[in-house]
Amino acid sequence: MATKASRSAARLMISPAVLLLLGWMLVPLCLTLYFSFLRYNLLQIGATPFAGWENYYWFVTDPSFKAAIQNTLVLVGGVLAITTIGGLFAAILLDRPMFGTGIIRIMVIAPFFVMPTVSALVWKNMFMNPVNGIFGRIATSLGFQPVDFFGQIPLASIIIIVSWTWLPFATLILLTALQSLDQEQLEAAEMDGAGWWSRFWFIMLPHLARAITVVILIQTIFLLSIFAEILVTTNGGPGTATTNLTYLIYVSSLLQFDVGMGSAGGVIAIILANIVAIFLMRMIGKNLDA
């Protein structure tokens, strides 16, 4: 098949798709780069003069930038920790043969299919509302002061909501990995005198290393751009307590109408995401080789 003619025909036929995708990526990227160097505010109609690094300077020195970076890291790190550890735990439980395995597995994966705005609103109004929410009711009925989730622990609340969405994903990937573990290895370890914890630490965990890195990589990509959950629950507040980088860019460009500043933020986000990606790819590359 791989004759010269068929190869050039293949290239010719695939080129429209490649060009379309390339354009789709390059045009917004170039425009963002271009806007980020302009003094471009939608409230000031008229000239959009070249501004140099001004947008970048003001975006980075803005006190909310530091908070946003911090919140982004805490959010990503917190969700990763909860979903990976929780997913590992859930996968080990689900791996055991039990009654109704099929239905239970579908129920476990279900949260992943609920769209972020919906799940966040359900959590906000039905669970975390201090007056009408279930947690509030439980606390009141037991005679405790109900927790005002979005007032007292806003970032932790967001982490809980996002973790709820992503836990099934981690569970599912880790469960399939766990099922591919050769049972004879576990039996051999048992014969060798390894207790449950040693079998988990020396046999299961190394076997799962690859799956865990995949979970971390994929989740990081999506968690860096969490937005809907913040928009519908806290609007980035109180203050900047739940403003992450994505939300800060939204604030600059669509609430303050400063397109230039927003674009500068976008470029910074791209650079940060790429730094994270390089680290992750190195880590994964090492793990996927073995």
């Binding site: 050769d182 004879e184 290895q185 039996e187 051999a188 370890a189 048992e190 014969m191 060798d192 005198g193 390894a194 040693s198 020396f202 046999i203 190394p206 076997h207 290393a209 073995a290």
Partner: protein, 333 residues
């Protein structure tokens, strides 16, 4: 020490009884082979001894102490699995050292024992490789190494050679037999290959559907099989069974005669037509048709014999080597 005694041991999975109650005595230092067709319960029996399965009833004594409820790790037995079950992310050294590490043994003692096992098994050159970088035979040796460092009371082998190619299998068979002679430790070996059973065992346990059909030394089983199943299972090619008139002539329901106990020639009481002849050089196996006895009748002739397809051939069974069986397939003395 490695004396194992099974008393009325049985095993059921749900309603299915795979092993009806059985008794078995395994002496210290013996090489015992469990042999039988697939699904006969031989691996289950081994796993019961190992403690990887719980017995449904009965008890297992190891060195005189009741070990029925003792967890696998505490029974002092080491097992070599069919898939070798090596830990893929550990080097050969770490694989072999794993049981010692689990026993929290002193580091210098661990190193000494691992080095010793590696040199016994010719693994010293591969000690820092991962299992995926080893050949099948080398992996097999690592699995054995992991078993011998523990200095167990007995070794359990679960069809260890079935994943190796034919040439390697013969080599490993010898190595395991030699290891047994050198260590002088009890070994229990499960296989479906009667050649492995015959060549390695001190004592063969023939199993069918969870029932012990016969226990004895390889030559006992060969010379005096207790029933038709054992007679047919031990020996290669299979024993010929002849029913009907020829059986009645010997005062039995059926008679059995091994291919190697029939002489071929141009005269003899039995007559047939040569079908396929398998020439192995040292032996020739003839499949003979139209004898009116059994179809085909298998006959072994020593060396190269000049009979070919379609020739008429005469056969002489050795009368003292004829086995007689009654209607239920039990041997008549």
């Amino acid at each position: 020490m490695g004396q194992i005694q099974l008393k009325q041991v049985s095993k059921s999975f749900g309603d299915v009884e795979v092993i009806p109650p059985l008794d078995l005595q395994i002496e210290d230092g013996e090489f015992v082979v469990f042999v039988g067709p697939s699904g006969c319960g031989k691996s289950t029996l081994l796993r019961l001894i190992a403690g990887l399965e719980d017995v449904t009833s009965g008890s297992i004594d190891i060195d005189g102490d009741d070990a029925t409820a003792v967890p696998p790790a505490k029974r002092g037995l080491a097992m070599v699995f069919q898939s070798y079950a090596l830990y893929p992310h550990m080097s050969v050294r770490k694989n072999i050292a794993f049981p010692l590490k689990m026993a929290k043994m002193d580091k210098s003692e661990v190193d000494k024992r691992v080095a010793n096992a590696a040199s016994v098994l010719n693994l010293t050159d591969y000690i820092d490789r991962r299992p995926s970088q080893l050949s099948g035979g080398q992996r097999q040796r690592v699995a054995i190494g992991r078993a011998i460092v523990r200095e167990p009371a007995a070794f359990l082998f679960d069809e260890p050679l079935s994943n190796l190619d034919a040439a390697l299998r013969v080599g490993m068979r010898l190595e395991i037999s030699e290891l047994h002679k050198r260590l002088d430790t009890t070994m229990i070996y499960v296989t479906h290959d009667q050649v492995e059973a015959m060549t390695m065992a001190d004592k063969i346990v023939v199993l069918q559907a969870g029932v012990i059909e016969q226990v004895g030394s390889p030559l006992d089983l060969y010379r005096t099989p207790r029933n038709k199943f054992v007679a047919g299972f031990i020996g290669s090619p299979k024993m010929n069974f002849i029913e009907g008139a020829e059986g009645q002539k010997h005062g039995a329901h059926a008679i059995g005669i091994r291919p190697e106990h029939i002489d071929v020639g141009n005269s003899g009481p039995w007559k047939g037509v040569v079908g396929v002849a398998e020439h192995l050089g040292s032996d020739t196996f003839f499949h003979i048709h139209d004898t009116g006895l059994a179809d085909p009748l298998t006959v072994r002739a020593s060396g190269e014999v000049a009979f070919s397809y379609g020739d008429t051939i005469h056969l002489t069974p050795r009368e003292d080597r004829i086995h007689k069986f009654d209607e239920r397939g039990i041997r008549i003395a």
